[in-house]
């Protein structure tokens, strides 16, 4: 039983959480499950310190930047130094947001709460791959995701789908109903105003029911029509607007819609809202979410019994995410001793900082390394977010880069600390005798820490 408790304590901190800082595994040992459930709270996730700008402020800056660029074009002066500086400033702000998040991850005492939050941020991915979204990813997480990660899924869905960042990233903001007032009255320089189905499709496919739910192209198009008008106060609007969500009645496609066999007569903003309510309540969504959570926390190919437990918790509570989190913690499958998840670069670096009890001091060095390992900050490759599969992250080149980084990191942080002790503190009962012995035989302390970080058990969780 004591052995069992030791292994459960290390699983609580390293698999459910973000990796152990000194003393964390010992703190979880009394009651590993309670250690995790205590991190679930109605007010949601922690807020990264120092990330202060709102999405409205960021949009104002971006609007100013675009106006300056347009002026440069108009004057035919090419990109001025001011323009280049402004572009750089936008990217630096995004870097600041990412760095604040990294600091939180490296230091938090509630590692499970932060992992749970990162899961939802990835589920509702907004990527910095567009210049217009570069500075909005941080505020999006802060405003739409973090407050709601232990509330109702439906609220999270609506918050995400109405946030300027998502509306920009998936092109919803300018989608116009072909039969709307805007389309009939506004001749946009000979260009036909019309639908853009990007967000509607990804809400169905990625955020809610999933691609196997049996919907058709017509359902996607109908939902896109229902979504028309969901926009935000952007470049064409007054700066006093607050730059928040804006329903553009005049761009909304009039009439009832039929989506997945249900008719939505409601007009205006309420129409798409009603669709979202039904999507959130769908058993397909319960299933889709359950599979994704199980895959993230436990195994790329998760046990069906675990998926069923999460699905039941979702359905029983009308999609309450605190209930789903509690169900995950209560599932025996999640506590299987064999670690089956290979860490992503972000998880690997965060757990390394935690093991060494340090926090990163500058963004530049970590951004370059994360990019080299395949996980450029805030820049998931697609709306699907970062992949989960070990095979993706364990590419030969990426493993060499992890090794190179581990050595440089160990050189910086080891000092006169004993790597064997660091290993015990970082992995607890998950430390195998072979790795412990190999670390003990290292030529230098730095080499010992490199071996710990690159060990099969530290690379997994």
């Amino acid at each position: 039983m004591a052995v069992d408790k030791d292994i459960r304590a290390s699983i609580a901190v390293t698999r459910f959480g973000l990796g152990a800082r000194p003393g964390e595994i010992a703190a979880a040992r009394g009651d590993p499950e309670a250690y995790l459930t205590a991190q679930i709270r109605p007010e949601g996730a922690d807020r990264p310190a120092g990330a202060t700008a709102t999405s409205g402020e960021r949009i104002n800056e971006y609007v100013a930047y675009r106006k300056a660029r347009a002026m440069e074009k108009h004057l035919g002066v090419g990109k001025t130094d001011d323009g280049r500086m402004a572009n750089r400033a936008l990217r630096l702000e995004a870097g600041g947001d990412f760095f604040a998040r990294v600091q939180l991850a490296a230091r938090t005492d509630a590692g499970f709460r932060e992992r749970w939050t990162l899961f939802w941020a990835n589920h509702f991915t907004v990527s910095a791959k567009k210049l217009a979204t570069v500075t909005l990813v941080g505020p999006f997480e802060e405003e739409a995701i973090r407050p709601r990660v232990f509330g109702r899924f439906e609220d999270l869905l609506v918050a995400s789908s109405s946030h300027p960042a998502m509306l920009t990233y998936l092109d919803q903001a300018r989608s116009i109903g072909p039969g709307s007032i805007t389309a009939r009255t506004k001749d946009r320089g000979g260009r036909r105003a019309g639908l853009n189905e990007n967000l509607a499709r990804e809400i169905m496919e990625l955020h809610t029911v999933g691609v196997d739910a049996g919907y058709s192209q017509d359902d996607v198009t109908e939902f896109a029509r229902a979504m028309t008008g969901w926009s935000f106060a952007g470049r064409g609007d007054s700066a006093d607007s607050g730059r928040g969500f804006l329903f553009r009645e005049e761009a909304h496609e009039p009439g009832a819609r039929t989506i997945m066999g249900r008719r939505y007569a409601g007009a205006g903003q309420a129409q798409a809202r009603a669709v979202m309510k039904d999507l959130a309540a769908s058993p397909h969504t319960a299933r889709h979410i359950a599979v994704k959570i199980a895959r993230h926390f436990v195994a790329d190919d998760p046990p069906p019994t675990l998926v069923a437990r999460l699905e039941q918790a979702y359905l029983r509570t009308g999609g309450r995410l605190d209930a789903v989190a509690n169900a995950l913690i209560a599932s025996p499958e999640a506590w299987e001793p064999a670690a089956r998840k290979f860490k992503t670069p972000y998880e690997f670096m965060v757990s390394s900082w935690r093991a060494a009890n340090v926090a990163p001091t500058d963004l530049q060095s970590i951004a370059a390394v994360m990019t080299a390992m395949g996980q450029k900050p805030f820049s998931a490759p697609s709306p699907k977010g970062w992949p989960e599969e070990a095979q993706v992250w364990c590419a030969p080149d990426a493993v060499v880069k992890r090794m190179t980084w581990s050595e440089a990191f160990a050189t910086q942080v080891t000092g006169d600390r004993d790597p064997v002790q660091l290993a015990q503190v970082a992995l607890g009962a998950r430390l195998t005798p072979l790795v412990a012995k190999t670390i003990a035989r290292a030529e230098t302390r730095q080499e010992g820490l490199s071996i710990l970080l690159m060990s099969p058990e530290f690379q997994r969780r």
């Binding site: 791959k129 210049l131 998936l170 092109d171 300018r174 116009i176 072909p178 389309a183 000979g190 260009r191 036909r192 105003a193 019309g194 639908l195 853009n196 189905e197 990007n198 499709r201 496919e205 990625l206 691609v211 192209q217 996607v220 370059a368 990019t371 080299a372 390992m373 395949g374 996980q375 450029k376 490759p381 697609s382 709306p383 699907k384 992949p387 070990a390 095979q391 993706v392 364990c394 590419a395 030969p396 080149d397 990426a398 493993v399 060499v400 880069k401 090794m403 190179t404 050595e407 440089a408 790795v435 190999t438 290292a442 030529e443 080499e447 490199s450 071996i451 690159m454 060990s455 099969p456």
Partner: protein, 435 residues
């Protein structure tokens, strides 16, 4: 993975890798059984480029001679041949996007052709399903967890016989599977503690994931030193900075497509192409390579002769330039296939872009191609011919195109293509007259 001369002068690391069973040791296994396919494929090179996001075939190879084209496309239609910013003429109906000047030059020599209406068997218009089907080669989504290119390697010889490489920091599905493929992405290759690789090798002895990955990664890193040195000599005149370009390379997935300044980006892309050529031409180098380029999901403001998509195509053209130039004499034994998960809507949408569609253009290049016109039939863009009144209709199963290349170029027999490389695809015939 081990350069031939390294076998004669084994360093500590090469001895270590030899002991891992990569390279030299396996070449003795089953060599005779595979002699036939070996003869057929010796020296042949294949590069598969996957364009993720749904590349708009009607912009890559605009059918400016199709009567419906200009109307459907409106502001994003490319101008007819000969006009400023107009399409570069291939035949009476088709051109190439003006950003594809190098490719057009190859086409004029019979070394580039288009297949204008190919599609995977998937019809769902979901990026992720269609990408899965494109790269796995299965007839249904999530039908297999390995990639068709990996299974093609398996069909060509015992494990490790044919070397393969993917470019990019993460491993693409198309090359995942039983055969361990190398991967490489740009980034400074710092020298490491000489002991650590050996220690980790022992530690990873029982680890099916980390063991092979580390061994392959180290071997590739050694080759990269040679390959990037080769690429430096081919670098474009405007290139500045070191040959091993920074991680913000423009083209390879996992990099940062919009970060590099537009003027600099083509040079970086050309350098990446030349680097890949360097990998493929050195002794023991990769014979087969996979490259993933993303950023083609042009829902809004995709542009015409200039704009977002034009910029991406400039990268692609520069990459192909670097690759074809870098391969030099080996280009005549090379086929490059470039494909995407689906095309885009025939009509421009309400935001100056296009939404998810069905058939798109695949591009074939290489000195090993047979000369000829378009591959497959053109369904036309007449309203009645559009798939679901929306998209370019597919006239060719993408697997048929891939099969034609694998059969004609690498000598993989039909039975294997029908059953293991593309499971359950017996009724999809290999494209003829391509290689």
């Amino acid at each position: 993975m081990i350069p031939a001369d390294a076998c004669r002068h084994p360093s500590r690391r090469h001895a270590l890798l030899g002991a891992l069973g990569l390279g030299i040791t396996v070449e003795f296994l089953g060599a005779r059984a595979w002699a036939d396919s070996e003869r057929a494929s010796a020296g042949k090179k294949l590069v598969v480029i996957v364009c993720r996001g749904g590349l708009d075939g009607l912009s890559l190879s605009p059918p400016v001679g199709d009567p419906a084209y200009a109307t459907l496309r409106g502001p994003i239609a490319l101008a007819p041949f000969g006009q400023p910013g107009g399409a570069l003429k291939l035949d009476g109906a088709f051109g190439l996007h003006p950003a594809m000047a190098v490719t057009h030059g190859l086409a004029m020599k019979g070394e580039a052709r288009i297949a204008p209406a190919v599609a995977t068997p998937d019809r769902e218009r979901s990026h992720f399903e269609a990408q899965d089907v494109l790269e796995s080669g299965a007839s249904v989504v999530y039908g297999t967890s390995s990639g068709w290119l990996n299974r093609a390697l398996e069909a060509m010889g015992p494990e490790g016989k044919v070397k393969a490489l993917s470019m990019g920091a993460t491993a693409p599905l198309i090359l995942r599977g039983k055969i361990e493929a190398a991967s490489w992405s740009p980034g400074a290759a710092a020298e490491t503690d000489h002991r650590l690789p050996g220690i980790l090798h022992d530690l990873y002895a029982g680890d099916p994931l980390l063991g092979p990955a580390l061994a392959s990664g180290l071997a590739t890193r050694d080759m990269a030193k040679i390959a990037t040195a080769d690429a430096a000599t081919l670098a474009a005149p405007e290139m500045s900075g070191p040959a091993s370009s920074p991680a913000e390379g423009p083209a390879v997935s996992g990099g940062a497509p919009y970060k590099a300044a537009p003027r600099q980006a083509p040079a970086l892309a050309r350098n990446l192409g030349a680097t890949l050529a360097g990998f493929m031409t050195q002794p023991g180098g990769a014979q087969v390579a996979a490259v993933v380029i993303d950023g083609f999901d042009t829902h809004a403001n995709q542009g015409a002769a200039q704009g977002q998509l034009a910029l991406r195509l400039t990268y692609v053209d520069a990459f192909l330039d670097g690759l074809s130039t870098g391969l030099n004499g080996a280009w005549r034994d090379t086929v490059v296939v470039m494909a995407t998960e689906f095309g885009r809507t025939a009509r421009v949408n309400g935001t100056g872009g296009t939404d998810h569609g069905t058939a798109s253009t695949a591009l074939l290049l290489g000195g090993a191609l047979k000369k000829g016109g378009i591959v497959g039939d053109w369904p036309t863009l007449a309203e009645a011919k559009l798939f679901e009144n929306r998209d370019t209709a597919p006239t060719m199963d993408m697997r048929g195109l891939f099969k034609g290349v694998l059969q004609g170029h690498l000598g993989i027999d039909r039975a294997r293509l029908d059953t293991t490389v593309f499971p359950g695809s017996a009724r999809v015939a290999p494209a003829v007259g391509v290689v």
